[in-house]
Symmetry: C2
Subunit: 307 residues, 2 copies
């Protein structure tokens, strides 16, 4: 249960990284875009077809190298419902190829609304006598500003469906401190969120020792990352901010436990856009993505050994 499947896939690939699938049209080799536009038209359907086509080719290239992928909902919603359909189809294809799928949706709502989000992204939608999967991700990211009302519906469903949840704790962006670093009593706001995460997740440990409720903690604040690792011994970390945002392999090393377990590091543009920096990259974009994923894995390996 919990993050066991992700944990096993990380150990199998010896690679604690997740590839962000955040394709904007300008990140996609032009010949793929043109082909899809010629077929579907210069419209949202054509754009969504190009994104799906690119994602499928990336998934083919990364299979066996990267254990997990993380489609970011914003880039699909940008293309309207055809984009959202492309996200659905991407999740399905990723499952066919054996990837663990983290839907990066950062949903934050309460009660029956949170329940609807959880059912849509992790669970089943009841339609008459049917129980149908709307998106069927393995895991979602959520925002807890509204408190435990915004967390428990996801966590409860994740427990039932054997899936995972990552709660935003300390994010990687420059202004994350405006709210998260405020000190109330003896704790920062992000520490309060961390403690809430730990408390609500208690008792949901899987065989790997980690709880079903994980935490998003940015690579760009390595001191806080190490502090939170100590504070939240059973909380799996999803770590954004490596690469483009400035986080290094040394910075992210603090996210792991002594076995090299309990964390997964995200890279989006580093892999997605690798073709733009490679020789004949547009034609050989799969090789470029694979090489970038392998380089990231090897970079982290310098500091982290997975038992």
């Amino acid at each position: 249960m919990s993050f066991d499947r992700l944990h096993q896939l990380i150990r199998k690939t010896k690679n604690p990284t997740v590839a962000g699938l955040d394709a904007r049209l300008e990140y996609i080799p032009p010949q793929l875009v043109k082909e899809c536009m010629d077929k579907h038209g210069e419209n949202l359907e054509g754009a969504a077809a190009a994104v799906l086509r690119y994602n499928m080719a990336l998934l083919d290239a990364l299979q066996g190298i990267v254990p997990a992928v993380k489609p970011q909902a914003a880039y699909y919603e940008l293309l309207g419902w055809p984009g959202v359909k492309a996200m659905h189809d991407t999740i399905q294809y990723a499952h066919d190829k054996g990837f663990y799928v983290i839907a990066d949706v950062k949903r934050g709502d309460i009660g029956s609304t949170a329940q609807a989000y959880a059912e849509g992204w992790l669970g089943k939608s009841k339609v008459g006598e049917q129980a149908l999967s709307a998106f069927d991700a393995d895991c979602v990211t959520i925002n807890g500003y509204m408190g435990s009302d915004a967390i428990l519906p996801f966590l409860d469903l994740a427990k039932e469906e054997d899936k995972g949840v990552f709660l935003l704790v300390k994010t990687s962006n420059p202004s994350s401190g405006e709210l998260q670093d405020m000190v109330a009593g003896d704790r920062q706001v992000y520490t309060v969120m961390a403690d809430l995460c730990k408390r609500l997740g208690a008792g949901t440990e899987g065989e790997c020792g980690y709880q079903t409720l994980g935490a998003v903690v940015g690579a760009t604040y390595p001191a806080e990352l190490r502090e939170l690792r100590r504070r939240m011994e059973k909380t799996f970390f999803l770590v954004p901010g490596y690469g483009a945002q400035g986080g290094t392999a040394q910075d992210v090393a603090g996210a792991f436990d002594r076995y090299g377990w309990g964390a997964i590091i995200n890279s989006s543009r580093g892999i997605l856009c690798a073709w733009q920096k490679a020789e004949n990259g547009a034609e050989r974009f799969q090789d470029a993505a694979r090489a970038a994923a392998e380089a990231m894995r090897d970079d982290i390996k310098k500091y982290v050994t997975i038992v």
Copy 2:
């Protein structure tokens, strides 16, 4: 600019309320559901067709009475991409009928990701030479836990596109205090969010005097609501929590300025599910919805006079 159009619609209808369009299948009269399932099958398409059909009938019934509607994304995502298409079609139909549309998406992300959400929900998606609307809402709700990086991309686009944004400040749910009421220095976290809202919105006042960046403040905390009204004189309030959650007309009165301006009160199930309590409600669901909307308007009118 800013909330001027919403303000004018409120003054025209003399009704500072917004109808939530949060349809789950069980909120829809069974004959509509059956008709759509018979046509499309007992699947996500059939369910999404029933939701759209119900929304269109509600919009017909509420036209001229309620100035604005607020589809809640969770209930559409619950039905996968066909549901998201139904949300898109609902927004379009609401515009045809002259409603102001608040997309209740509570998105919270940063930088280029927030930009993609903003372009998708409020702006245009660039596809080749085309600039296409993905959802084209008039306004979105957002979550600022990640700081101003999660707010500015929406606000900047809203300014350009003459649209609006509501930032979560103090939410209506029971556990909202877990984070939002923490006291840091001389201010609660929600007050810090309020001050951030006010500061980032400064200079974006429309003719109605209100800024392009509004705030979500729950009806269930009337003391905080009055305090925030005083603190944020130029901030338009979206107020959930009236009715089912326990907020009364007297409670929400504190959201308005002395002219009865500057706030809009949400009701979702009170209007959506009114047919369930009415005689022959399933057949006369439009009458039931209209009567509930009028009753809510008249209830608030006891405490608030719109100049």
